[in-house]
C-alpha cells in the first residue's frame, strides 16, 4: 500500500477553457477577435510544448483521525480540523504531487525580460492549469486502480495553505513524495521550486 509511484511523463492536452477562464475570459462578455484568439491558442500551444508534466503519489493508511488532527502511517501527523473533516470517512489518504518542470519557468522569465507580457501571462496560466490537470490525471489513474479494490477517491483534494491546513505541512508532503527526484525544491517559506509545482492530499474510502 505504501509504494511511492512516480509518473515520469503525464501526457495531457492543455485545458484551454480553464486557461482562458484563469486569464479572465468570460464566455458571454469577453470580445475576442479571430487574430487575438489565434494568438492565445498559439501561446497556449507554445507553453504546452515547454511543459514536462511529471507527478507522483503515495497511498498511506490513516491510523487516527481525532477531528483536529490526522495521523498517517509513515509517522506523518497533520494538525488541521478542516483536513480531519475532509478525511472523516476515509481509511486511507493519498499524497500527490505534480510539476510542470523548469523549461516553462525559464520561458516565462524570458518573455517577461523581453517585455512580452502578453505571452508570459498565457504561459503562466497554461502552466498553472496544466499542473492542476496533472493532479486530476493522477486522481483518475488512481481511481481506475481503486475500482478493482472496490474503493474510490473522494472527488476533491486538499492542499497545504488552504483553510487551517498550514503551508508548513507542504514540507512533509514534499519529503514523503521525494519530489527532489524530479528536480523540485522547497524553500524556507515552504514554496515549491519550480513555481509551477503542486502537492495535495486525497481521501480513499
Amino acid at each position: 500500500m505504501e509504494n511511492l509511484v512516480f509518473l515520469e511523463k503525464i501526457s495531457i492536452d492543455p485545458p484551454r477553457e480553464k486557461i482562458c477562464q484563469r486569464l479572465g475570459y468570460k464566455k458571454s462578455t469577453t470580445e475576442l477577435s479571430i487574430k487575438q484568439k489565434k494568438a492565445t491558442d498559439h501561446f497556449i500551444n507554445e507553453a504546452s510544448d515547454l511543459i514536462s508534466l511529471q507527478g507522483m503519489f503515495l497511498r498511506l493508511a490513516i491510523t487516527q483521525n481525532d477531528s483536529d488532527r490526522v495521523l498517517l502511517s509513515n509517522n506523518l501527523t497533520f494538525a488541521s480540523r478542516k483536513l480531519a473533516a475532509f478525511l472523516r470517512d476515509c481509511r486511507e489518504a493519498v499524497l500527490m504531487g505534480a510539476t510542470a518542470g523548469n523549461a516553462i519557468m525559464a520561458a516565462i522569465q524570458e518573455k517577461t525580460h523581453l517585455d512580452e507580457l502578453s505571452a508570459a501571462v498565457i504561459y503562466d496560466a497554461t502552466a498553472s492549469e496544466m499542473v492542476d490537470a496533472g493532479l486530476d490525471w493522477i486522481m483518475s489513474y488512481l481511481n481506475r486502480q481503486l475500482r478493482r479494490e472496490n474503493k474510490a477517491l473522494l472527488p476533491r483534494r486538499f492542499s497545504a495553505g488552504y483553510a487551517d491546513f498550514q503551508l508548513e505541512n507542504q514540507k512533509d508532503i514534499y519529503e514523503k513524495l521525494q519530489m527532489e527526484k524530479f528536480g523540485v525544491l522547497i524553500n524556507p517559506s515552504f514554496i515549491l521550486l519550480p513555481e509551477k509545482s503542486v502537492t495535495a492530499i486525497g481521501g480513499i474510502y
Binding site: 512516480f6 469577453t30 487575438q36 492565445t40 510544448d49 502578453s118 496560466a125 475500482r147 524553500n187 514554496i191
Partner: protein, 800 residues
C-alpha cells in the same frame, strides 16, 4: 484447424459472448476488498468454479482466467512474485478443467500498474519479460486465447502483445480502457489504438471497463472504419456511482442488453461485461444478440500510421501529405554537435516547428559517425513520442537502428526505406512484418540505379511479390519514384513522373518523392523544385519529403492541391493565402489618420506596424507628447476600462500594454526633447521568500505605460534591499506582492521597518492571498489586479 483459425471462423458466423465481471462477483462470494483475487481463487477454487458455471449457463462462449493481476509487480504486493508462472498455470488449468469443451478459456493479462518507457519508469524490455512470464503460465495451463485488457498505456499494451506473440502463435485480443473524453489516460484515441495494435499482430482489438455501454458505442463506432480485425466491447454495468462509501453499478440486465444490441450494430464482434455485470447481464446480452449477424471488419487493410496520441490515414485524392525532412544531421553542424553531446533540444524544436508548419509526418534520421546509433535512436524515439503527436518515419541505412526504433515506438511507423537489394529485403521485410510497420519501397536493386520508368516498375512489382509473402498489401507501402538530377540526365524528371503516374493509374499504390535532387547542380533551385512538385502532384503524387518551412514549397503545394481538385472549393488554398495578405489589407485604409491607427493598434494589441505610424504621425506635425497624451494614454485607459468590464481578458490587456511600451520606447528620445510625462516614482518588489512575480510584473508594465517611473526590485527581495532603495530613491509609492500565506506576513515586517526608519511613503500591497482587510491591518492600500493598482497609485498621488 488451429485454435486461432477456429476462433476466426467462429467470429465470421456469430457475435461471440464473453463472460461478465469477476472481481465484483468474487466479492459477493466473500472475497475481501484488500485480498489478492488470484491467491484467493487458488485458496477457494469452489467459488471461481461456481462463477464459471454461472457464466457458462448464461451463455458465455469465452471465460477469462482469474489472472488479471497475476504479474510479478502486482503479486509482489502479496509476497508472491516468485510464483507468477505457477499462479497463472494453475488458474488457467482450473478454468480449463471447469468449463466444457465448447467453452474457450482466455488467459487474462491486466496492467502492471506501472507506466512503460518512454512514458514511465518501467523499461520496455522488462515489461515484455514480465508479460512473457505470465503468458507462459497461461498458455501452458491450457488457454485457448489471450486477452490483454484494461490497458491505459498503449506502450504497456504493445509490450504485452509483443510478449505473447514472441512466445506463441495464439489468438490475442488487446482491449484498452478509455475515459469520458474518448481517450485513454495516456491520451490515445480508439483509432490510434486500433491502428497500432492490429498492425503489431493483435487478432482483435477493443475496449473494456471505461464508461458504461452507451459511451462505448461511440468508441466502437470510432474504431470500426479503421479496423481490419474484429472488435471487442466489454462495458461496465453503467457508470460507477458512489453510494454509502461503496462503488456501485446500477444498470440492470435488461437495459444492459438493449445497449449491447447497439454495440453489435456498431461493429463489436466480441461482447461481454466488465465491472458490475453479473451472469444475469450476460444471459440478457446473449438473448438480445444471438440472432444478430456479426458486422465483419469493413476493410482488409489500411494505409495508416499512428503515434501514441494521433494517427494519419493516407488516402488517395487528398491534399499532398508532407513528411518533414529536417531531423537529419547531414549539413547541420548544430544538430551534429547536439547528437555528439547526447542532447536533443534541437530535435524537439525541429519536431514542433515542422508540425506547426504543416508536416503530417516526421522523418527521423540520426545517422552520424561517432555516436551509438541504437542508443541515440532510443532516446530520440522516447523524446518524440511525448513531445509531438505526429507519427514518425524512421530513416536509417542500419538495420539495428531501424529495429530499435520499431520496437520502442508506441505507434505504427514507416520505414524509409526498403529497396530490392537482397540484404535489405531479407532483413527488413521480416522486421517490418513483425512490428507491423509501413515502408517506403525504393525501386533499386543489384547496386544499379534504374534509369527508366519501365525498369523501376519491374523492380516495384518484384519487391511487392516478395512482400506479399510476409502478408503485406499495397496499403502497407508507398513507392519512392526516385528523383534524379536533370543536370546529369535530361530525361530523369520525366522518368520519375512516369513512375508516379504508373503507381497511381496502373499499379494503384501510393507514392512519395524527395524533390530537391531534381535541381542538383542548377541555379534557381527553388523554382525548379516547385515546378517539379506541381507536375508530380498532377501525376498523382501522394506524399512529399520536404522542409515545411520553405514558402515556395508550401505555396506551390497549396496551389497544386487546389488545381488537382484534392480539396473542395479551394478552401485550404484561399485560407492559406488570405492569412498571408490579411495584414496588408487591414492597413490599406489610407483614410484613417496615423494617430488613430496608433490608438487602434494599442486597443487591438497589434504592434507590428506601430513605429511606421508613429513616424507618419510625427511627419504630419504631431508632437510626441501630443501623441502620448491625446491618443496613446486615452487608448490604454480605454483598454483598462474594457478589462474592468471583462470585455477584455488579461492577454488583451497585456498585449495592449506591450504595444504601448513599444511605442513609448520608440518615442522616448523625442519625449525627452519636449515634455517627459513622469507622473511619479514607484518601487515594486515581491517579498522575501516568495518567487511568484507575474502579478508584480503586470503592475510594473501598466504603471510604466501610465507614465510612472518604476524601480522593479524583482522577486524574493530582502526587507533591507527594499528599505535601502526607498531611502535612496525617495519613491511616491512602494508596491509589495506575495502569493502565499507564509510570505504575506513579510509585508507587515517591511512596513514596520520602514516606519521605524522614518520612511513615510505610501505602501500598496497585492497578491493571491492578500485581502483589503489585511492591507488595512498593516497600514497599506490594496489592489486586486494590475488595472486597480494603477488606479490606487493615481489616487495616492492625487492626495500628495
Amino acid at each position: 484447424m488451429t485454435e486461432s483459425a477456429k476462433i476466426k471462423n467462429l467470429l465470421k458466423k456469430q457475435i461471440v459472448i464473453l463472460d461478465g465481471a469477476m472481481g465484483t462477483e468474487l466479492q459477493k462470494k466473500g472475497m475481501s476488498g484488500g485480498a489478492c483475487p488470484e491467491l484467493w481463487c487458488l485458496e477457494n477454487p469452489q467459488h471461481i468454479k461456481e462463477l464459471y458455471e454461472a457464466y457458462q449457463n448464461a451463455g458465455s462462449r469465452i471465460v477469462y482466467t482469474c489472472t488479471f493481476g497475476a504479474n510479478r509487480f502486482k503479486l509482489k504486493q502479496y509476497q508472491a512474485s516468485q510464483d507468477v508462472y505457477k499462479v497463472n498455470f494453475e488458474l488457467a488449468e482450473l478454468a480449463r478443467k471447469t468449463v466444457g469443451k465448447n467453452i474457450l478459456v482466455a488467459g487474462d493479462i491486466g496492467p502492471t500498474g506501472l507506466f512503460v518507457e518512454p512514458f514511465g519508469p518501467l523499461a520496455f524490455e522488462e515489461a515484455v519479460d514480465a508479460f512473457k512470464e505470465q503468458a507462459r503460465g497461461l498458455i501452458d495451463g491450457g488457454c485457448d486465447l489471450i486477452v490483454i485488457e484494461t490497458m491505459i498505456d498503449i506502450q504497456e499494451a504493445r509490450a504485452a502483445l509483443l510478449a505473447v506473440k514472441e512466445l506463441a502463435d495464439i489468438f490475442t485480443v488487446v482491449s484498452m480502457t478509455y475515459e469520458k473524453d474518448g481517450h485513454t489516460l495516456g491520451g490515445t484515441s480508439p483509432q490510434s489504438a486500433v491502428i497500432t495494435l492490429q498492425s503489431l499482430g493483435a487478432d482483435a482489438v477493443g475496449c473494456n471497463c471505461s464508461a458504461g455501454p452507451e459511451q462505448m458505442i461511440d468508441m466502437v463506432s470510432a474504431m470500426k472504419p479503421y479496423a481490419t480485425v474484429p472488435l471487442l466491447a466489454k462495458p461496465n454495468a453503467g457508470m460507477p456511482l458512489l453510494k454509502d462509501g461503496k462503488t456501485v453499478f446500477e444498470m440492470n440486465a435488461k437495459n444492459f442488453a438493449a445497449f449491447s444490441v447497439k454495440l453489435a450494430a456498431a461493429g463489436a464482434n466480441f461482447l461481454g461485461g466488465c465491472c458490475g455485470t453479473t451472469p444475469e447481464h450476460i444471459r440478457a446480452l446473449k438473448k438480445s444478440v444471438e440472432r444478430k449477424k456479426p458486422v465483419l471488419p469493413r476493410i482488409p487493410s489500411i494505409c495508416a500510421l499512428s503515434s501514441a496520441r494521433d494517427f494519419l490515414e493516407i488516402r488517395e485524392n487528398e491534399p499532398l501529405y508532407l513528411i518533414g525532412e529536417r531531423i537529419n544531421p547531414t549539413g547541420k553542424k548544430a544538430l551534429q554537435q547536439e547528437l555528439m553531446d547526447g542532447k536533443l533540444s534541437i530535435i524537439r524544436q525541429m519536431a514542433q516547428e515542422q508540425k506547426a508548419q504543416g508536416a503530417s509526418l516526421l522523418d527521423v534520421n540520426i545517422g552520424q559517425p561517432g555516436i551509438d546509433e541504437v542508443q541515440t535512436i532510443k532516446k530520440v524515439i522516447g523524446l518524440l513520442s511525448t513531445a509531438v503527436s505526429l507519427p514518425l518515419v524512421i530513416d536509417s541505412s542500419r538495420v539495428e537502428t531501424i529495429e530499435a526504433a520499431l520496437r520502442l515506438y508506441p505507434g505504427r511507423m514507416m520505414i524509409n526505406s526498403i529497396s530490392g537489394e537482397k540484404e535489405k529485403l531479407v532483413k527488413l521485410l521480416p522486421l517490418a512484418a513483425k512490428y507491423g510497420a509501413m515502408f517506403i519501397l525504393l525501386p533499386l536493386t543489384g547496386g544499379n540505379l534504374p534509369r527508366t520508368a519501365k525498369k523501376r516498375q519491374a523492380i516495384i512489382e518484384s519487391i511487392f511479390r516478395k512482400a506479399q509473402k510476409f502478408g503485406f498489401t499495397k496499403d502497407d507501402f508507398v513507392v519512392d519514384g526516385l528523383t534524379m538530377a536533370i543536370a546529369s540526365d535530361a530525361g530523369a524528371a520525366r522518368e520519375t513522373l512516369a513512375t508516379i503516374h504508373w503507381c497511381k493509374q496502373v499499379f494503384r499504390c501510393k507514392s512519395v518523392l524527395g524533390l530537391s535532387n531534381v535541381s542538383f547542380g542548377l541555379p534557381g533551385r527553388p523554382w525548379m523544385n516547385a515546378a517539379f512538385l506541381a507536375m508530380a502532384q498532377y501525376c498523382g503524387l501522394t506524399l512529399a519529403i520536404a522542409n515545411p518551412a520553405s514558402a515556395e514549397f508550401m505555396n506551390i503545394k497549396k496551389a497544386g492541391d487546389a488545381l488537382t481538385a484534392r480539396e473542395k472549393a479551394s478552401f485550404l488554398f484561399i485560407n492559406h493565402f488570405s492569412q498571408q495578405t490579411a495584414p496588408a489589407l487591414a492597413t490599406a485604409d489610407a483614410a484613417v489618420k496615423p494617430e488613430e491607427k496608433i490608438a487602434a493598434a494599442i486597443m487591438e494589441g497589434d504592434g507590428e506596424r506601430i513605429t511606421t505610424w508613429i513616424d507618419e504621425a510625427m511627419r504630419s506635425g504631431l508632437s510626441a507628447s501630443r501623441l502620448v497624451d491625446d491618443f496613446m494614454i486615452p487608448a490604454i485607459v480605454r483598454v483598462g476600462d474594457l478589462y474592468d468590464k471583462k470585455i477584455y481578458f488579461l492577454p488583451q490587456l497585456m498585449a495592449a500594454a506591450d504595444v504601448m511600451k513599444k511605442a513609448l520606447a520608440y518615442l522616448d528620445p523625442h519625449l525627452k526633447k519636449t515634455t517627459t510625462t513622469n507622473k511619479g516614482k514607484v518601487i515594486l518588489a515581491t517579498v522575501r521568500g516568495d518567487i511568484h512575480d507575474i502579478g508584480k510584473n503586470i503592475v510594473a508594465l501598466l504603471l510604466k505605460n501610465y507614465g510612472y517611473c518604476v524601480i522593479d526590485l524583482g522577486k524574493d527581495v530582502s526587507d533591507e534591499v527594499i528599505i535601502d532603495t526607498a531611502q535612496k530613491e525617495n519613491p511616491d509609492v512602494i508596491g509589495l506582492s506575495a502569493l502565499m500565506t507564509t510570505t504575506m506576513v513579510n509585508m507587515k515586517d517591511i512596513i514596520h521597518l520602514a516606519r521605524a526608519k522614518g520612511i513615510k511613503t505610501d505602501f500598496l500591497v497585492g497578491g493571491a492571498v492578500v485581502t483589503d482587510a489585511y492591507a488595512k491591518s498593516i497600514g497599506a492600500s490594496f489592489a486586486r489586479d494590475g488595472v486597480q493598482a494603477v488606479k490606487v497609485v493615481e489616487n495616492l498621488m492625487k492626495k500628495k
